[in-house]
């Protein structure tokens, strides 16, 4: 209460005190913020960062779980073995094909679905409910449903498709089996894609579209020049999420082919080395490579979209 006895000095002193309490408050807020996020961050890192570091370490050893005492330091040999093995490259190729094809098909169908959902006025609840069923269903169930649908003895697909003989075995050869796998993947994940695109579509202003219409733009021109450029962010998020998700494909392959007919993905190869062959050293090297390839894809996609965004801005 010195302020009352020394009025001359009161003003700067008060403001300094206010400043002090403001920084104290900011500090308290900072502390509370960190305290609130800490459990979530620790939980997330506990099961990812530490094991990933351990995988990095174990990948330098020849280490079989069935013979743990024979663990032996081999440097980068595991990586060398993987990178020079044609199996690795076949699996990378399969995975990339699955990723590119499924994301491309999903983008087109998902966009069409989003356009329909955007226009629908009645029966919105019904459409929304049905589109969420593939999203929510267990991937393993989707894989079984499609495996049976394509199966030789019990499947309806051969009977329904005009150009396919009734005795065609979809799982007897590589590419038909890959198609079956991709159909299951596309069926299950297109709804997610279309919901993300629907959200992007909702942010495109109706007035702009209307203005383009008045200016005489055709439906096609409106789509490519107005709607799609205005929802680039939503498309980017959808493609990024789905591409990285598709690259991790595992469940469908496990259920439908178990990697037979050369349909193995990178994730499946890693799983097989570790859980079925107990090759923890080699499997860890594969884990690290799988992780790195996801990073590379994410980086490439972000870069591609940046360029795209920049050139779009240049146009405007």
């Amino acid at each position: 209460m010195s302020t009352t006895t020394a009025p001359r000095q009161s003003e700067p002193e008060v403001s300094q005190r206010a400043k002090q309490s403001a920084t104290a408050r900011a500090k308290a807020e900072n502390r509370l913020g960190l305290r609130l996020v800490a459990p979530a961050v620790i939980m997330m890192l506990l099961v990812t960062a530490y094991p990933m570091g351990r995988a990095l370490y174990l990948s330098l050893f020849k280490y079989r779980l069935s013979a743990p005492d024979d663990r032996e330091f081999v440097g980068l040999n595991n990586y060398l073995t993987v990178m020079t093995d044609s199996l690795w490259w076949t699996d990378v190729f399969n995975t990339v094909v699955i990723m590119v094809v499924t994301v491309a098909v999903e983008l087109v169908i998902g966009f069409a679905f989003a356009m329909v959902m955007h226009r629908v006025i009645f029966a919105r609840g019904v459409i929304r409910t049905s589109i969420l069923i593939p999203y929510g269903i267990i991937t393993v169930v989707s894989a079984f449903a499609w495996q049976f649908a394509f199966s030789l003895n019990n499947g309806f697909v051969n009977g329904w498709l005009p150009l396919v003989g009734d005795d065609f075995n979809w799982f007897g050869d590589k590419w038909p089996a890959m198609i079956a796998i991709m159909v299951s993947e596309i069926w299950k994940t297109t709804p997610f894609m279309s919901l993300l695109l629907l959200a992007g579509l909702a942010q495109v202003s109706e007035d702009t579209i209307e203005a383009a219409k008045v200016d005489g733009a055709t439906w096609w021109q409106r789509l490519w020049k107005v709607i799609i450029p205005n929802m680039r962010a939503a498309i980017m998020v959808a493609v990024l999420f789905r591409a990285l998700d598709a690259y991790r494909i595992f469940d469908n392959i496990y259920v439908m082919t178990r990697g037979a007919q050369d349909t193995e993905s990178v994730s499946f190869l890693t799983y097989r080395q570790i859980i079925e062959q107990f090759e923890l050293g080699m499997g860890s090297a594969l884990s690290v490579l799988l992780f790195l390839s996801v990073l590379i894809i994410a980086w490439l996609l972000v870069k591609a979209f940046r360029v795209d965004l920049a050139s779009a801005r240049g146009e405007g």
């Binding site: 094991p51 959200a199 890693t270």
Partner: protein, 276 residues
């Protein structure tokens, strides 16, 4: 909105319905075919004779019952814990000013894109040393880690929409930051929290990779893994109809949740993605 519903929209709606529901109808139809019919081969869409025997077989199977209990228990516990942690974190991110906010969001994003299989090896090894292998906590922990990013992003988006003046009013009235959080914001945020919980539950219920690699017995094996290992007496001819019945049974909870909460789920899925 002046757009009229043209024939193309009607066709589109029908296409969506067929796309989404045909495989569901197919698996239900298969589950109603008697096991003898599918063993002989029955490529037509609908059953020749209808029967509920498969459902009886599945529901009486102790392995399947155990898997259902595991899946429900593990998914629910993981959901509750994950949503509690995520609520704290999302509140801090949406509301408070603190250093490292961007880092937290980046970590969450990176983990959402993490290739799960690359953790199978080290976790398999670690869980065996820590005796978490083939236990409920052994699955709850990784489920939490991988659902946290989704929950944090969804909740942060929801929390940014809340009228925060109310919180300030409470602070002015003398409430601490913690009281303002608990008494004012939590009730307002409950719908968002609930949505995050549904999405989290879907993720945990769907998981397969951890389910098959971190369990070895019925002690913790969840439904998707149990389905994949479900082999009848003849290893080379898996029991199609029975498996289909099991698949239908585990899809029912999903359909019920979707029917009741469709609006919330769509809001939750899209808000986090676009504004994040």
């Amino acid at each position: 909105m002046k757009s009229k519903i043209g024939p193309s929209t009607i066709i589109g709606m029908l296409a969506i319905l067929v796309w989404c529901l045909l495989p569901i109808a197919w698996i239900i139809s298969l589950s109603l075919k008697p096991e003898a019919e599918t063993a002989e081969g029955s490529p037509q869409f609908l059953p020749k004779s209808w029967s509920l025997e498969n459902y009886q077989a599945v529901l009486e199977d102790p392995l399947f019952q155990r898997a259902l209990i595991n899946s429900f228990g593990i998914s629910l516990i993981a959901t509750v814990l994950s949503v509690i942690f995520a609520t704290f974190a999302a509140y801090a991110i949406a509301r408070l000013d603190f250093r490292g906010k961007r880092i937290v969001l980046s970590i969450a994003l990176a983990i959402a894109m993490f290739p799960v299989v690359s953790l199978v090896g080290p976790l398999f090894d670690m869980w065996r040393t820590l005796s978490l292998y083939d236990t409920w906590p052994g699955l709850i922990i990784p489920y939490m880690s991988f659902t946290l990013p989704l929950a944090i992003w969804t909740l942060t988006a929801f929390f940014r929409e809340i009228p925060w003046e109310l919180e300030q009013a409470a602070r002015v009235d003398g409430a601490t930051a913690w009281q303002a959080f608990r008494k004012v914001i939590v009730p307002l945020a409950a719908p968002g929290v609930f949505t995050a919980a549904i999405l989290t539950f879907f993720f945990a219920w769907n998981d397969f990779v951890f389910g098959i690699s971190l369990t070895s017995t019925t002690a913790a094996r969840p439904v998707p893994a149990a389905l994949a290992f479900f082999v009848g007496p003849d290893q080379f001819n898996p029991p199609t109809s029975t498996l289909s019945a099991a698949a239908v049974v585990v899809t029912i909870p999903i359909i019920v949740i979707v029917l009741i909460f469709q609006r919330k789920i769509v809001a939750g899925l899209t808000s986090g993605a676009v504004k994040g």
